[in-house]
C-alpha cells in the first residue's frame, strides 16, 4: 500500500472523500447536499483524469491505476443516464465510485508508461472504453442483485430483480462490443482473432455467464429471482477475475500482462 503525495494523489483522495460524504448524505436523506457533493467529487475526478491524460500524453486507459481512475470518472455521467431511463441508483453509484478510487489511490503505482507498439491502435480507446463502462454497469447490476437477495422476503425484491435485469440489458451490449473489438484488434495486432490467452478466456467466461443469465431468465422469468441475482453477482465476480486476477497473478501468463 502506497500513499501518493502528488497533486494527482491529493485530487484522488479528495474525490474519494467527497464520494463517501455524498454517499453518507444520501443515506441520511440529505439529497440536495448529496447531489452537490457528488457533482463536486465528479469534477475532482474529471480534473484528475484530464491531468493524467495531459501528463502521459495518451488517453489514460493503459494500466490499472488509469483503469480504476477512468471507471470512477464514468460513474457520474452514468448516474445521469440511469436517472433518465428510470434506473436511478445514485447512492450506490456514489459508494461504487469511492470504492473504485481506493485501488487508484492506495494500491497501484502511478508511474507514467509509454504505449507499447501493440497498444498504438485506433481500437485502443473504443475497446477499453466500452469494457470499462460495461464493468461499471455490471457492478451496479450486482449491487441491485445483492439488494434483491437482502430484501428477498419483501415485495420490493421483485422491483430490484427487474432493475437488475434492465441494468444488465444496458451493460451487456457494451460487454459484447468490448469482446468483439478486442478480437478484431487481436487479429490486427497479433494475427489471430482468438489467441486462447487467459484474459480472453476469462472475458469470454464473463460474457457467457450473462448469456446464461439471459437464457435462465427467459426460461423462468421472475419465478426464480434469487438464482437470477446470484448469476448477476457471479458475472461481476468473473469480471473482477478478468480485470484483476488475470493481470496481476503469475498463474495466468499471457499477452495482456503489460496492463499492470
Amino acid at each position: 500500500m502506497t500513499i501518493k503525495f502528488t497533486i494527482q494523489g491529493l485530487l484522488i483522495y479528495s474525490a474519494m472523500l467527497a464520494y463517501f460524504l455524498a454517499f453518507l448524505s444520501a443515506i441520511l436523506r440529505k439529497q440536495k447536499i448529496a447531489n452537490r457533493i457528488y457533482l463536486a467529487a465528479f469534477l475532482l475526478t474529471l480534473c484528475t483524469f484530464a491531468y493524467r491524460w495531459y501528463h502521459v500524453k495518451h488517453v489514460p486507459f493503459q494500466n490499472m491505476f488509469e483503469v480504476f481512475l477512468s471507471m470512477a470518472m464514468m460513474l457520474y455521467p452514468l448516474s445521469l443516464l440511469c436517472r433518465r431511463i428510470k434506473l436511478d441508483t445514485k447512492s450506490a453509484d456514489m459508494l461504487i465510485a469511492a470504492i473504485l478510487l481506493v485501488p487508484a489511490g492506495f494500491v497501484f503505482h502511478a508511474q507514467p508508461q509509454k504505449l507499447p507498439p501493440a497498444l498504438q491502435s485506433f481500437l485502443f480507446i473504443p475497446h477499453v472504453a466500452v469494457y470499462l463502462l460495461a464493468y461499471v454497469i455490471m457492478a451496479k447490476a450486482a449491487v441491485l442483485a445483492s439488494c434483491q437477495i437482502i430484501y428477498s422476503t419483501k415485495t420490493i425484491s421483485l422491483d430490484y430483480e427487474d432493475k437488475t435485469y434492465r441494468t444488465i440489458s444496458l451493460g451487456f451490449p457494451l460487454l459484447t462490443l468490448g469482446l468483439l473489438l478486442g478480437s478484431l484488434w487481436g487479429k490486427l495486432a497479433w494475427g489471430d482473432y482468438w489467441g486462447w490467452d487467459p484474459k480472453e478466456l476469462w472475458s469470454l467466461a464473463s460474457w457467457l455467464i450473462y448469456l446464461v443469465y439471459f437464457h435462465f431468465r427467459f426460461m423462468f422469468g421472475k419465478k426464480r429471482p434469487r438464482i437470477n441475482s446470484l448469476l448477476a453477482i457471479l458475472g461481476l465476480t468473473f469480471i473482477l477475475i478478468t480485470l484483476l486476477w488475470v493481470n496481476l497473478s503469475k498463474i495466468f501468463p499471457g499477452l495482456h500482462n503489460y496492463a499492470t
Binding site: P117, L188, Y193, L201
Partner: protein, 347 residues
Amino acid sequence: MWLSLLAIILFTALSILGAFHGPQKAKQLFNSIPLTVYFFILVALLTAGFFTFKSLRKKPALLMIHAASFLILAGAMYGSQKGHQLAEKLFNIKKVPQGYMAIFEGKSENKILADDLQHVLAELPFDIKLDDFRLEFYEPEKSSTPLLKIETPTGDYFQLPAEPGRQISLGPDIGILKVLHAFNNFKINIEQGQKIATDKPDDPPNPTLHVELTAPDGKSYTRYVFENFPGFGESPDDLKLTYTSQRPGQIRDFLSDITVIENQKQILKKTIEVNHPLYYAGYHFYQHSYDPENQAYTILSVTSDSGLYAVFAGYLLLALGIIHRCWFRNIIKNIKNKNPKSEADQQ
C-alpha cells in the same frame, strides 16, 4: 432450451479450465476431438433452435444473434487446422492455417515455416522481399538519470543512479558500492610516470564510471565501468556492472519495408508494422519478431483468411442483434407507450 443452457454452462466451464492451462494447452483443448464434437452439437442445437422456437425466426434481434453464433462457430471451425485439412481433402484448397517467414534484408523469400523456423510448411506462389527493417524509439526522457546496474553472482539485481556520492548496500556478503566519479569521455594521461584519468570533451565519447566497493571486512578497492566496453577492465569481484549514461528510449514500433514480387514483377510495396499487417492472396502477414542484435532480418507471422469473413460477419450480426434486443427494443417500447398517452392528451 435446457440443452442450450447446459451447453452454454459447459462452454463457460471449459473457458475457465482453458484459462488455467495457458494459451498453448487451451488451444489444444479446444481443438481436441471431444470439443470438436461439442462444437458440432452446439451448431446442431442452434440449427434445431431455428425450427423449434418460433420466436427465433420471428424476432429479428433473436434471429440475428443466433444466426451470428452459427456463423462464428462455422467460420472458426473452417479456419482451424482440421478445417484446413478438410478443405484440402474435399475441395483441394491447399492453404496453411498459420506459419512464419524469416527474411533477411535485401533477400526474397516464399517459404512458410513452422514454429521452429526450420521445417517448411508450404511455399507461396509469390516472393516477399525485405527492403529494410528498422526500429523506432520514443525520445528518451529528458529527466532520466544515468544508471548503474549491478548483478551479483547469486543473480540479484540492483540499480543505482550513476551520480558521484551515490552508494548502495549489496547485502552483508558483498558490501557497499559507491560511485566516485562519472566521466563523459574517459581517457588516461600519463603525467610524471603516474596514470591520471581525465575527461577529453573533443574526442568521441567514452562514458565511464569510477566506483568503489567496500567489502564487509572494511577492505575497499576501485574499478572503472565503461559504457561502450561492458566487462572491460580489472575486476577483483564477481559483480557484473553495466553503466548506461543515458536511458535509451522505449521501442515505439517495429517496421519491415517489403515488396511483393510475383512472376518476377513487383506487385506492391508496403511497410508492415504492429497493427498494420499486409493482406495478399488470402494470407495476412504480421510483424512478429526480428534480429535483436543487428536488425538484419525480420520474422513475419502468416495466417490464412479461411473462415475469417464468416466470423467477422457473425461479429457484426451479433453486435447488431444484441444492441437491438437490449437497447432499441426498450426504446421502441417506450415510444409506443408514450404515443397513446400523448394522443389521449390531445383529444
